[in-house]
């Protein structure tokens, strides 16, 4: 079963594609809503602003396609802004509605540390999930973000940056990770391998 990587112009698709391929997964890179709607295993990448990512998804009717894939029992992994897009809304530059596949809001990182967070951070497992199989608690992952969800019911891992935030979430077959697994060396590749193995 191939993994379908959504070919978003507001994402670092090439890097994620390289990382997914290195896990041995067969890969389809597409922005075709029909192909996305029928996918069994979907990856939604994203960098930059929430509003830009969200508006691209809506314009190309990819948001509905993603919902349909999930309703049909497909597996979904959102990465960085792709993870944020899974929640109900974000307060980056006003309020923007998300896909609403996960409960909770995305808010700005607040505190003394410089924003955006750029770099490695330690991730604590707060729930059990196949996504973190064979990954040690307190492993480090690479983050680039100014916003994050925090304390959501679907949280499976948290990190701390001027306060705790949600590093990874899972609700049924929908996963999201705030960090960049494709830049997180062995731990990141293991996480992608774990997602690809979900069937």
């Amino acid at each position: 079963m191939p993994t379908t990587l959504i070919d978003s112009p507001v994402a670092n698709v090439a890097n994620i594609a390289r990382a997914l391929r290195s896990t041995g997964s067969e890969l389809v890179v597409t922005s075709d809503p029909d192909a996305i709607a029928s996918a069994r295993s979907l990856v939604l990448p994203g960098v930059g602003s929430f509003a830009a990512a969200r508006s691209w998804l809506r314009q190309h009717r990819i948001d509905d396609a993603i919902r349909e894939a999930v309703a049909r029992g497909g597996w979904l992994l959102g990465i960085c802004v792709g993870h944020q897009a899974l929640f109900e809304q974000s307060f980056e530059m006003g309020t923007t509605k998300g896909l609403g596949l996960l409960h909770g809001d995305v808010t700005r990182l607040a505190g003394p540390l410089p924003v955006p967070q750029i770099g490695w951070n330690t991730v604590k497992l707060t729930g059990s999930s196949p996504l973190f199989d064979d990954i040690a608690d307190d492993s480090s992952f690479y983050f680039v973000n100014s916003y994050a969800a925090s304390g959501v019911a679907s949280e499976i891992a948290s990190a701390d940056y001027s306060g705790p935030f949600t590093a990874a979430a899972q609700q049924g077959r929908v996963f999201g990770v705030q960090f960049h697994p494709e830049k997180s060396s062995a731990a990141g590749l293991q996480l992608l391998r774990n997602f690809v193995a979900c069937k």
Binding site: A14, N15, R18, A19, S22, V47, G48, G111, P112, L113, P114, P116, I118, G119, W120, N121, T122, D138, S140, Y142, V144, A159, D160, Y161, S162, G163, E182, K183, S184, S185, A186, G188, L189
Partner: protein, 493 residues
Amino acid sequence: MQVIPSLDILEGQVVRLVRGEFASAKSYGEPAQVLESLQVPRGSRLHLVDLEGSRSGRPIETEVVRRLAARDLSVQVGGGIRSIEDARRWLDCGAVRLVVGTVAATSPQLLSQLVEAFGPQTIVPAIDVKDGVVRTDGWERESARGVDDILAAVESLGIREVLITDISHDGLLKGPSFGLYRQIRSRSDLNVIASGGVTSVSDLISLSRIGNVSGAVIGRALLEGKIDLERARAMIASPGTIPERIIPCLDVRDGRVVKGVSFTNIRDAGDPVECAMRYEAEGADELVILDISATDRDTGTALDTVHRVADSLFIPLTVGGGVRTLDDFRSMLRAGADRIAINTAALRRPELIRECAEEFGIQAVVLSCDAKRDGDRWVAAVRGGRELTDVDVVEWCMRAEALGAGELLLTSVDKDGTNSGFDIELLRAVSARLNIGVIASGGAGRLEDFSEAIESGGARAVLAASLFHDRQLTIGQVKQHLAAEGIPVRRTF
């Protein structure tokens, strides 16, 4: 670790003395007003020095202590406490702790009487150390007793905390005396209040990592506005979960890794892809590729190298060398780089930093600055260190941050390739003025150089090239050393 504001009091005013001379006292005003302007919250611990008391050997500024204690501040006072009666007067005024200097070094008998009368938690012995030797009486006299001797005596009285001031001149240029506090940790269970040399929040974070440092006294840095108390306290309170990074650097020319001393005498050191993969496996947190041919020649080969390395690398990749325009920047990102270091082009046209930050985000923009010492300052060098400008490095880096640089790669041209340690003064001068992270580069030789760059230099990442190429040290060894020193690292060993 507590951050303890410190005020020197003379004639009821907050003052600072230049070279210890009373005639030179600069006044900052009434203590209560000073504390308000520094936003010292109620309940804070406060360190007061009664300067006249210290000179005359009897309590003078009792009214100041009385007023501050009434404002719900936990005052510790020092200066001229030479008897039980002096001590009682201060406590009657509302002081919570007494800082005793000379007594601790010279009169063990009085020290034990003070502890007996007021309890060990009330007495904080203060020890001035110069080049490892204890000093007494306003730094004039050398004590007959060594640091260990005095600490052992203090500990046997049930005292938990001592205030240590390093008064060596060299120490001040390199910040607090981290080495001295570590040494004390290995020999004594006492907690240390560190005094002297703190000029930045980074110094406070480094002190808090040592383990036995329970407090840091800050005076001058606070009065001069170099440290924001609220921010400092928040940063220290946040857990140490953000690892400091070790970054190997590949200097690449015409598609091959090369190495040289001070940018000259260049020789071949291997294939970039092989080197990159080896470094990731060894635990590198990021990789920097500097194309040192690009400033002189075209960037086509460099793009190809980046593309090949990015294909097999799963850690962040920073690329620098010859990036002159937004298009160059975009091409490098497309080739697989995560972050781009710009140097000469930004010096020529600083607006390039802003344009790149707006187009690609500040996380993608790294300012690379080659610094050369010029008297008591540093100037930016260009063309791989071959040419000097008259641009002041500290000012330039601050401007680059304001324009949108997300991180700074700071290379000492003087130290590069020498393996003789980083230019700690350069790192301190720059990192103390920036909010963005500094990557220390140029001079790595020993394990201690890495910890010093982070601890004293305030760097958030350390870069090395030849050291790792030659396998004089491995990344794993460096990380183990940092972890043993209490510095958080991404564990890959």
